[in-house]
Symmetry: C2
Subunit: 477 residues, 2 copies
C-alpha cells in the first residue's frame, strides 16, 4: 500500500503552513502548548493557525473554532485532540487538502486495550483512504531547524549533520538536548511513535537521500518490515555513519515496548548481528548515544589507539589510564628524553611527568601546560590527547574555581591547535554553585570545537567505539 518512492515525504520537513488542532486555550503550561512555543521561538515564517472549538485567542493569535473555518490552505496539521476524535480530524483534514497530520495524542494501541487498538487501525484506514499521511500517533513529530519547525523551544536554531529517527518522543527530546549542550547540531529529527502509517523504513529512506544528514542516530523499539529495514540500512551505511540504540533488548524491556509504542521488540542477537555486519555503531543507552554523537561531530579520527592523557590528580591518572586500557586503547609510557624535555621547565615534586601526565602542582601555569602539551602531542607515540580535570578534587577553595574549570578552554582556541586530535573530560557537579563554574568550562571547550565527556569511562568508551568503527570501515572498504 506504500507509494513507490518515499522521497516525497520530504514535504513533511518544510510545510508551507501549519495548523495546531486541539491546542488548549486555558493553561499556558499545558503540554499542547509546547508546539506553539516551539514554532514561535523558531519564528516559523509561514501561515500558522490555531484551532479549538472554544475559539478565543492565545498570545494575540486568533483561535479558529474548526479546521474548515481557517481561511487559507493548510499543508500540515499537528493533532492534539482526544484519541476518540482523531479519525474524524483526518476526515476534516482531507476535506481541507491537508497532506499530513502528526498526532501527538496518545491512548491508542500502546494501552493494550482492544478498543483503542481498533481505534488506531481505524485512524490508519481513514488516512489511507483519504490520502492523508499520518505521523504517530503518540509521538512528538518533527524538528527541522532549517525550516523553522521544532517541537521544543529549547532546541538549537542552527542546523548540523545529525539526523535522528526516534520511536520515543521523550527519548528524542532527551537525546537532542543533551547532545546540543555539547555542541551537536541536527538536520532533521523525527519522533514517530506508534507508526500507524509512516514508519521507520519510510523515514530512513527519506533521510538516506538527505544531503544535509551525514550521521544518523536511531532509537528503535521495533520494526514492521525487517527485510526492507536491512536493505535501506545497507545502502545508507555506505555513505553515512549510523548509530543505533535498540530499546527493549531484554524481556522486561520488550514488555515495556509493547506498552509504549505497541511494537514487537525482536531478539537481541538479531540486532547485534545486523549492527556488526553493516558497521553500525550500537549503543545501549542515551548517555552513550550522546557520547558517540559528540565524538562523531568533534573528534577527528585518531591515527591509532595510543592515548596521551594529561590532567590533574595522581589518583585520577591511575583510574583514567585503567579506563582507557580496559577498553582496548593504549596508554604508552613516555620515553625518558621526552620526560626530560618537560622537566626542564616543570618541577618534579607534585607533578608526574609520565603518561598520564599529572600537572597538579603546575596547574596554574598555562605556559607550562601548553609547552608540555606541544611536546607530548608531537611525540610519534601519541595518536590523540585527552585532557582531564576531576573538578571535584579541588576543595581548598570550597568550590571549584571558575579559572580551573575553564582552564582547558583557555588553552585551545579550537580543535586543531595541537598536531593530534584532542578530547576533554570535565566532570560535572550536582552542587549548583559548582555546576555554574563547571558549565563555564564546558561551554568554553564546546565553543573551541572540542568533544567534552562527563566521565573517564564515557570518554574511553566513545573513543573506542569511534576507532572500532573506523577500523571496520577500512576493513570492509
Amino acid at each position: 500500500m506504500k507509494t513507490a518512492s518515499q522521497h516525497d515525504l520530504e514535504f513533511l520537513f518544510e510545510p508551507g503552513s501549519i495548523a495546531l488542532v486541539g491546542i488548549t486555550t486555558a493553561e499556558a503550561g499545558h503540554w499542547t502548548r509546547t508546539f506553539l512555543d516551539g514554532l514561535l521561538e523558531f519564528e516559523f515564517d509561514r501561515p500558522l493557525y490555531l484551532v479549538n472549538p472554544k475559539g478565543g485567542e492565545i498570545q494575540g493569535h486568533k483561535v479558529y473554532t474548526s479546521l474548515k473555518d481557517v481561511p487559507g490552505n493548510i499543508d500540515y496539521v499537528i493533532g492534539l485532540v482526544n484519541a476518540r476524535i482523531a479519525p474524524q480530524l483526518v476526515e476534516e483534514c482531507a476535506q481541507k487538502g491537508v497532506r499530513a497530520v502528526h498526532f501527538c495524542t496518545s491512548g491508542f494501541s500502546e494501552t493494550g486495550d482492544e478498543q483503542r487498538m481498533k481505534l488506531e487501525s481505524e485512524l490508519a484506514e481513514v488516512g489511507r483512504k483519504k490520502g492523508v499521511r499520518i505521523i504517530g500517533p503518540n509521538c512528538m513529530g518533527i524538528y527541522c531547524p532549517e525550516s523553522r519547525v521544532s517541537f521544543s523551544p529549547a532546541f538549537p536554531k542552527e542546523s548540523g549533520p545529525v539526523g535522528v529517527i526516534s520511536q520515543s518522543g521523550g527519548n528524542s527530546i532527551y537525546m537532542v538536548r543533551q547532545a546540543a549542550l555539547r555542541g551537536v547540531r541536527f538536520s532533521k529529527v523525527i519522533s514517530y511513535g506508534n507508526a500507524c502509517d509512516i514508519d521507520e523504513n519510510d523515514l530512513l529512506e527519506c533521510l538516506a537521500h538527505d544531503a544535509d544528514t551525514r550521521i544518523l542516530a536511531l532509537y528503535i523499539e521495533g520494526i514492521k518490515d525487517g527485510r526492507r529495514f536491512r536493505r535501506i540500512l545497507e545502502e545508507i551505511t555506505r555513505t553515512k555513519t549510523v548509530v543505533l540504540l535498540k530499546g527493549g533488548t531484554t524481556e522486561g524491556g520488550a514488555r515495556a515496548v509493547a506498552g509504549h509504542t505497541a511494537a514487537l521488540a525482536g531478539s537481541r542477537a538479531t540486532w547485534d548481528s545486523l549492527c556488526k555486519q553493516l558497521g553500525i555503531i550500537q549503543v545501549s543507552n542515551i548517555e552513550e548515544m550522546v557520547d558517540v554523537l559528540v565524538t562523531l561531530s568533534f573528534l577527528p579520527v585518531p591515527g591509532g589507539r595510543n592515548a596521551m592523557l594529561f590532567g590533574i590528580g595522581g589518583g585520577a591518572s591511575v583510574l583514567i589510564a585503567d579506563e582507557f586500557e580496559r577498553r582496548g586503547l593504549r596508554v604508552p609510557g613516555l620515553p625518558k628524553e621526552i620526560m626530560a624535555q618537560i622537566q626542564e621547565f616543570t618541577p618534579i615534586a607534585g607533578n608526574i611527568l609520565r603518561n598520564p601526565v599529572d600537572y597538579s602542582q603546575a596547574m596554574m601555569n598555562p605556559d607550562g601546560i601548553r609547552r608540555t602539551l606541544d611536546i607530548v602531542s608531537a611525540w610519534e607515540g601519541t595518536d590523540f590527547v585527552v585532557v582531564f580535570i576531576r573538578t571535584g578534587q579541588f576543595v581548598h577553595h570550597g568550590v571549584v574555581p571558575a579559572r580551573v574549570a575553564s582552564w582547558a578552554a583557555m588553552l585551545f582556541a579550537k580543535q586543531g591547535d595541537l598536531p593530534k586530535p584532542v578530547a576533554m573530560v570535565l566532570e560535572p557537579s550536582v552542587v549548583p554553585q559548582e555546576a555554574e563554574a563547571i558549565w563555564a568550562g564546558i561551554s568554553g571547550c564546546v565553543a573551541a570545537g572540542l568533544p567534552v565527556y562527563f566521565s573517564f569511562a564515557a570518554a574511553a568508551n566513545a573513543v573506542n567505539l569511534l576507532l572500532t568503527h573506523a577500523e571496520n570501515r577500512s576493513t570492509i572498504g
Copy 2:
C-alpha cells in the same frame, strides 16, 4: 619491624594536639592552608600550633618559627615542608615527643628519581630509629569527624558507618565529597600515599577493630605484604562489608601507579579472585564506589531480584527496564487485576500501567502517585521499588520545574514509607538553572533517607552488586 599490635594506631585518629609545620603565611589559597581551614571549620578543640621559619601570624593565630619553640606538648604533626628537609623534621619531632607525623609533601619515590627514592628510605629510617610513626609521604592524612580532624573544610561534620583507606589523596577527596552529597557519612578516612611506614595493612587492622566502622571502602594501588593483607581481610569480611577499588589493573594503569605512589600494582586476576573468595564488592571506578556506598548506607537489602519501576516517560521506561534486566534483575509484568486497580483512578491515555509504570500524564497528581505506589509495592511480585525521573525530558517550561524535581521527595517522608525498599533515579543537568532545581530534588530525597542514583545504569548496577553480595554471604554463611 612492626610492633605486635597495631591497635595502638588508634591514637592517630584522636590527637591531643596538632602542629602544622611548613604552612604558608603568604597566600590564603595555598594548598598548605587546606589543613588549617579543615581544622578551623571542624572547630578542633585541642591545642593547635602553626610553624614556619618566617613567623608572623595567620588569621590571628601565632606562627612559631620552629617546632621546639612551641610551648606545649605536641601529639601529631602535619608536615607541609619541602621533601629535602622532611627527615630533619622527623628528628625535631622526636625531640619534642611527637608520636606521629603525616607528610602531605610529595617529591619522593613516586618521581622515579633515584635520589628522591633514597630520601624516602632515609625518612622511614629516621622515623623507625626515633620511634616516630609516619603517614605518607604524598597524601592527605586523616579525616575523623568525631575527633574534629579533617583535611577538607567541605567534608560533613557528622559521623557515619563508612571507613575509607585510600592510597590517593585526590581520589579520597572525590569519593568522600561525592558520597557525602548523597547522604553517606564516615567514621574514619585515611589517605596514606607512599606508605613508607604505616601501610594499608596497619590501617586495615586498626579499622578491623573499630566498632564505628561497619562498611569499609578501599582504594588501593599496590600492597607490600599480600599474605597479611589477605589474612586481615578474611577476618574483617566476617563482620563488615568491604568494597574495593583497585587502581592500576591495566598495564597503563600500573605504570601510572608507579608514578603516583611507587607501589607495585599486581595482576588483575589475583585481585578478582581475592574479592570473589572473600565476598568483597569490587568496583572499577569512583562513581561505582560511591553508588555502592550509597546503596549499602540507604537501601535495605531487597528480598529478591524483582524490581517495580515507576516514573515518567514511555521511552525512559523501556530503557530503564533494559538496564535492570541486563544486569540480572527482573522487571515482572503486573497482573491484570493490579493494573485494573490502578486504572480505577488513573486515565489510561498517556500513562502506561504495566511495569515500568509510566505516570507521565498524571505526574502532577501526588495522591494518584501515592496510591499507585502503595498498590504496586504491596504486590507479592515486587521486591523493591525504583522511582525514576528523566528530568531532561521536561522542555515545555524551558527548564525543569522545581516541583517535578522534588516530586519524589514530597511523596516519601522517609525510607520505610512503602512496604518495600525504595531507590530513586534523578538525572542531573549541567545547565546551572536546571542543576539548581534538580539539586532541590536530590536534597529532598537524601533527607528522606533514600538512595539517589544519577543514571538508570548506575542504579541497576548498584542494586545488582548489593543483591549479589547478599546472596554470596548467605551461601557462605
